[in-house]
Structure formats: C-alpha cells, structure tokens
C-alpha cells in the first residue's frame, strides 16, 4: 500500500516535472513564435515600405545603375554633285566632355584623362578649373579613346557621339556648299539653306549596362538620318571654272573674281565660283572676304554688258533694227551737262555695230529712243531690282531707282550700265533669257532631296518666271551679240568650233571716299552663251579691280573662252568645224576608190 502510495507520489512528481517541461516548451515555442512573428512583421513592414513607399525612388536608383541614356548618332545628309560625286560627307566622331562641378578629384581625373586621350594633363586641369559647368576636353576623338574614357568610370566625365562634317574636295564649291558649325548646324551656303533637310534628328535611347558599363541591351532607335542633297553642279565644270577664274585673278593682279555657269533653258547652275576662296574644313581660319559668296551676295555696275538690255527693249518695241544707222558723234555726246565718251572715235554705226563695238554714244541714242518708262519696264522685266530666288542664302536684289527718281542724266547712264547695280547672277539670268528665246528662268542649285530610304522628298524643276522678249527678238539679239565676238570687243571669247555670243563690260568703280567714279579701279566682265544656235552654257565672268588687262575683252572674255571650251569638251559637244572628221572621211573615200 505504502509502496503503492510511494509509486503514486513518484508518478505525481513525474507528472509535475513533465507538465513543467511541457509548460517550458510551450513558453519557448510561444516566445519563438512571437519573435518570428515580430521579425516577420518588421521584415514585411520594411518590404512594404521598400515596395510601396520608396518604390519610385528605388527604381530610379536601380535604373541609374543599370540603364543609361545614350544618344543615337544622327548623321547629316551627304551632298552630291549632279553625277553623284560626294562634295560633303559626315562621319560619326566622339567628343569627351566634363562637368567640372561633379569631378571629385580634378588632379587625379586630369592625369587619367591625359593618359587616355594623349593630351597634356596641365591643359586638362586648366579646363577643369575654368569655372564652367560643362566643357569639352576633346572633340573628334576616336572610338577607342571614348571607350578608354568610359572605362575610367570617373564621375562627371563622359563621351558623346556626334556627327562631323568633311569636305573632301577642300576649296571646291566652297561658297556654294557653305559650312557647318561645331554643333553640326548649317551656317552658310547650302548647308544653311537646306539645314532642315540635311540635319538628322538626334534621339536618345536607353541602354542596359553591366557593372563594368559594358552595354547589354539597347532600345531600337528609329535612326533619323538627314536627307541627301543632289545638286545641279557638275564637279568637273565647277573645277574648270574655279581653275580658270583663279588664273585670271592671279594673272591680272585683281582684287577678286566671280564666275557662274548655267544651263540657259532650265536655270540649273552648273558651276559657281569666287576667288579668293576658302577651305570649308577650316572655315574659321578664312577671312570674311574670302568666305563671301560675291557671285550672289554682291552687286556691281554692269557697264557696257547692260547695253544688251537696252538693245533687247528697243528691238522688242520695234524702235530699232540691226541695220539702223546711228550717228556716233565722233565718239562723244553731252547729256545733262555731262560729256560721255566712247573708248574710240566712231562716226556712223549700225545698231549691230553699236553693240559689237560697245559704243556709248550709240547705246545712249538707243536708250533715248526707248524712253524712260519702257526702259524701266524692261529692266524690271529682266529681273533687275528683284531677287532671282536662287536657293542660296544672302542674295542681293541689286540697286535700281524708279523713273521718277531719275535725273536728266539717268536714262543715258542706264543705257551704258551706270546708275544701276546688279549681281553677277542677275546679269547671267538676263543673258540666259536672251539665249533661250526670251524666257526668264529661276536659277537653282539643288536638284533633289532624297531620304535615306531613297524616297525623293523634294525636287526642284525648271521654273519659267515670265516671257521678257519674243523669240524673234531673242534670235535677232543673239545674232547681234554673236557679232560682238566675231567682230567687236569680245573677240577673245570666241570658242573654236562653236558660235559664241556675248557682251563685254568694263565699268568704273565708285570711290567710296569721294563718291566719284575712279580712274583706276574697274570691274571687267563678259557675259555670254555658247553655242548660239542651241545654247548649252550661259557664262558670266567678273574680274574686280584688275591691275593689268583692265578691259572686259582682255581679261574676262578669254576666261569665258577657256571655261566654255573645256566645259563643252567635258559635255562631249562636238565643234561645228570638224577638221579631223573631214580628214578621216577623205582618207576613207580615197581608200574606197583605190579598192
């Protein structure tokens, strides 16, 4: 019984101990559970905070570490001549930039950049300490140099891909092409005129990168390259024109010169040159005078070349005929109290001879027959005083006064090309109207604009402005102007094997200091077309202030001849007189007879 009770008590003790253990275990489990719950709550709370409250901020931080906005290279369109030869090309180049305020250790950064870019460290340090918020350390860097800089992973330093313009033919067609600035925007010439088409649209794309900044993925960017520009310019004719103009200016010791070659029927400019010229690759080194497109932007007094305009008006109004005779007054005439002289003494001249020998007295008499009002109508009709609307910037409309502002001398002065200022382009456009049968046409330089996918965005087509004179008048005047070259002042312009027509001009320049015509400074010119029957080329040559060979017929006319001869050869136009052919034919016939 005792044993039983002892057993019982022992059982009770065991039961108590087991209950205590279970209680302890339960407590521990509860503590553990509570701890875990608390930990999970804290973690969940933190997760909630990260995922909900700080979501945007953290996404931005993560994107900043793994993604990067990089520019896609927007290539500027290429400029071609009419035969598809490149005149201006763009290449992608890298620029290394620095944001000095973000650079933590300028000395260390300059040393690292110096090693990567092979530039003096002192120079880089100077730029970092220049106090600017953004500076370019190196432009037109190679892709290897850009990668080396990226690998440095320096804060505030990076690279940017840009398009750089190159003009492979250097000075060739410099005034036409113009140039672009450091940021690839057109500043002059066609680069400025067609900047909206040529410039590519720059886009930014997101790039995923790894810890070493190596790209992993890149968004597909619609690469918006600029459109290509096809010109009416013929590279060979352009070269010939520049070469001959340079020779003429150098040979005569002139201040400058301009020459334009144009298709008289369509208005397409085949060549446009000025001398002195410049290299658009190094435009900042050239003077403003060398960069000026004087053929379009400057005006001059045309002198005797303008007699073609008074002649056209008088012929059209049937006030003169080629064979009409004029008293040349022995080479001098007094108008409005001023005596105007011829370059030599003439007694009687026909109208054709007045033109051929460039008689001032004869031309004044023709002008007097035409009258103020009619003459002004023809001057305006031929486009003087208005823009030709060529697709080049900076064109001048010239200077011409209205008839009510004319003095007693004005009609006579205008008949010999004084008291009026015209641009070389206006003069050539007027001569083209005589060459093509009486239609004034708008000159243009850009033939078409072609997108990267080959689609033609814009096309310039010949645009007649108005009929100025009848076809008969134009033909008669062309024959009279042919006489200038065969018998008159423009003999040096004759192109062997082709009938040539044109008009010389030698005009005195006005001295700025005195406001009077200078005795020494002249502008020598020749404007004409070739061949007379089916004109292919209308050409003007202007030589400003030649020191020697001061007449239009002695310096501008031979330059015209050289440009015309070489250009016709290039255009494969056969001369009318074909001695070799004739000889070959005779040899063939002789051989046939012998057989």
């Amino acid at each position: 019984m005792q044993r039983r009770s002892g057993e019982k008590s022992s059982d009770k003790g065991a039961t108590t101990s087991g209950a205590a253990k279970r209680s302890l275990l339960r407590r521990r489990v509860i503590i553990l559970f509570c701890s875990l719950t608390a930990a999970l709550t804290v973690i969940s709370g933190q997760l909630f905070s990260l995922q909900v409250f700080r979501y945007s901020e953290l996404v931005r931080v993560a994107d900043g570490q793994t993604s990067r906005r990089v520019p896609s290279v927007a290539r500027r369109g290429t400029i071609y001549d009419r035969n598809g030869r490149e005149l201006a090309i763009s290449l992608a180049t890298s620029s290394i930039f620095v944001r000095p305020s973000q650079v933590e250790n300028p000395e260390r950064a300059s040393q690292a950049l110096s090693a990567a870019l092979k530039l003096p460290a002192e120079k880089i340090l100077d730029r970092l300490r220049a106090g600017k918020s953004f500076v370019y350390i190196k432009r037109a860097a190679s892709s290897e140099e850009a990668e080396a800089v990226e690998r440095l992973m320096l804060k505030g330093i990076g690279s940017d891909v840009q398009s750089k313009r190159f003009y492979p033919k250097a000075q060739q067609a410099a005034h036409l092409l113009g140039f672009v600035g450091a940021d690839d925007q057109g500043l002059e010439g066609l680069e400025l005129q067609y900047d909206a088409y040529l410039a590519g649209k720059r886009q930014w794309v997101m790039r995923q990168q790894d810890a070493k900044r190596r790209p992993i993925f890149r968004e597909e960017a619609d690469e918006a390259h600029g459109a290509d520009l096809y010109l009416t310019i013929d590279e060979v004719i352009q070269y010939i024109t520049e070469r001959e103009l340079e020779a003429a200016v150098t040979h005569s010791g002139a201040l400058s010169g301009s020459a334009i070659v144009m298709d008289p029927f369509t208005g397409e400019i085949l060549a446009l040159a000025n001398y002195p010229t410049f290299d658009p690759n190094l435009y900042s080194e050239a003077s403003a005078f060398a960069r000026r497109n004087r053929a379009v932007a400057d005006y001059y007094e045309p002198g005797s070349a303008f007699k073609a305009i008074v002649g056209a008006g008088a012929l059209e109004e049937r006030l003169v005929r080629p064979e009409d005779r004029f008293n040349a007054e022995g080479g001098a005439i007094e108008v409005g109290g001023v005596t105007i002289r011829d370059h030599e003494r003439f007694e009687t001249l026909t109208f054709a001879e007045v033109m051929a020998h460039s008689s001032n007295v004869g031309a004044i008499k023709v002008g007097q027959r035409l009258g103020k009002s009619h003459y002004y109508d023809y001057i305006s009709g031929f486009g003087f005083g208005n823009l030709t609307k060529i697709d080049l910037p900076g064109e001048t409309p010239g200077l011409i006064r209205r008839p009510k502002e004319w003095s007693a001398l004005s009609l006579a002065s205008l008949s010999i090309g004084q008291e009026i200022s015209v641009s070389p382009l206006q003069m050539l456009t007027a001569m083209s109207a005589i060459a093509n049968g009486g239609n004034l046409v708008r000159p243009y330089v850009a033939k078409s604009i072609v997108a990267e996918d080959g689609k033609v965005i814009r096309e310039n087509v010949p645009m007649p402005v108005r009929r100025v004179i009848s076809e008969d008048t134009a033909r008669t005047l062309a024959n009279i102007l042919k006489g200038v070259v065969t018998d008159g002042t423009g003999k040096a312009a004759a192109v062997e094997g082709f009938e040539t027509a044109g008009k010389t001009g030698t005009s005195q320049k006005v001295e700025r200091s005195t406001g009077r015509y200078s005795r020494n400074k002249v502008v020598a010119s020749f404007v004409g077309f070739v061949p007379v029957e089916h004109p292919q080329l209308a050409i003007i040559v202007i030589i400003d202030e030649p020191a020697t060979l001061r007449w239009g017929g002695s310096i501008a006319a031979p330059t015209f001849r050289e440009i015309a001869r070489e250009s016709l050869k290039h255009l494969r136009k056969s001369p009318v007189v074909q001695e070799p052919f004739r000889l070959a034919e005779e040899v063939r016939h002789a051989a046939f007879r012998l057989n």
Binding site: R85, E86, I89, L91, A92, S143, F166, P168, K169, A170, Q172, Q208, R214, P215, I216, F217, R218, E235, V236, Y239, R243, E496, G497, E566, K569, R572, K573, S574, P575, Q578, E579, P580, F581
Partner: protein, 116 residues
Amino acid sequence: MRSYSIAAWTSVGRDRASSLLKPRVDQIRRFDLLQSLILGGAVLAVVLFYVWQHIQVVRLGYQVEYLAGERAALIQQQKELRLEVARLMSLRRVEEIARGQLGLTSPKAGQVIVLE
C-alpha cells in the same frame, strides 16, 4: 461504414500487416511520392528554365551589342574609305599628278573627236 471508407483510403489507425487494403495503399503512397517528385521536378525545371533563359538573354544581349558595335564600326570604316576615295579623286590633285608627275597636257583643238 463511414470509418471503413476513410480507413480504406488512409492508413490512419490501422495495422498495415493486417490490412486487406495494404497493396492499394502502398500504390497510392508511391503514386503520391511520384506525383510530388514530378511536381517538384517540374517546379525546379521551370525555375531552371527561367534562370537559363535569363542567362541566355543576357548572353545574347552581349552578343547583339558586340555585333551591333562591329556593324557600326564597319559602316564607319566604309564611310571613312568613301571619304578617302573622294579626297583622292579631287580634280585638283588628279591634275597636279597628271601634269606634274606624268607630264600630260590638255588636248589641243582637233585632237579630241567626240563620238556621238
């Protein structure tokens, strides 16, 4: 009847050795295990596939970037060569070589016959 029915499908509270349903229960257990293994394997496969796919995408990304860079470099090289060709074909340079080095001259009148 109900408890028998439950016991038939489960082994709770029953002596396996004496169970008449022993083979069937073992089959069910094997099936459960197999099912769990298949399910686990499938989940693992999906996870592995996801990881593999991610790695492949990254690897292909590197490859695409490398090839894109190579393509861009070749296009750039082509443009540089075109620029060089255009420079070399400059008529001023050609004429200098023709006249200076090769002693060529411009043909005179009558020396050129245009074949039309």
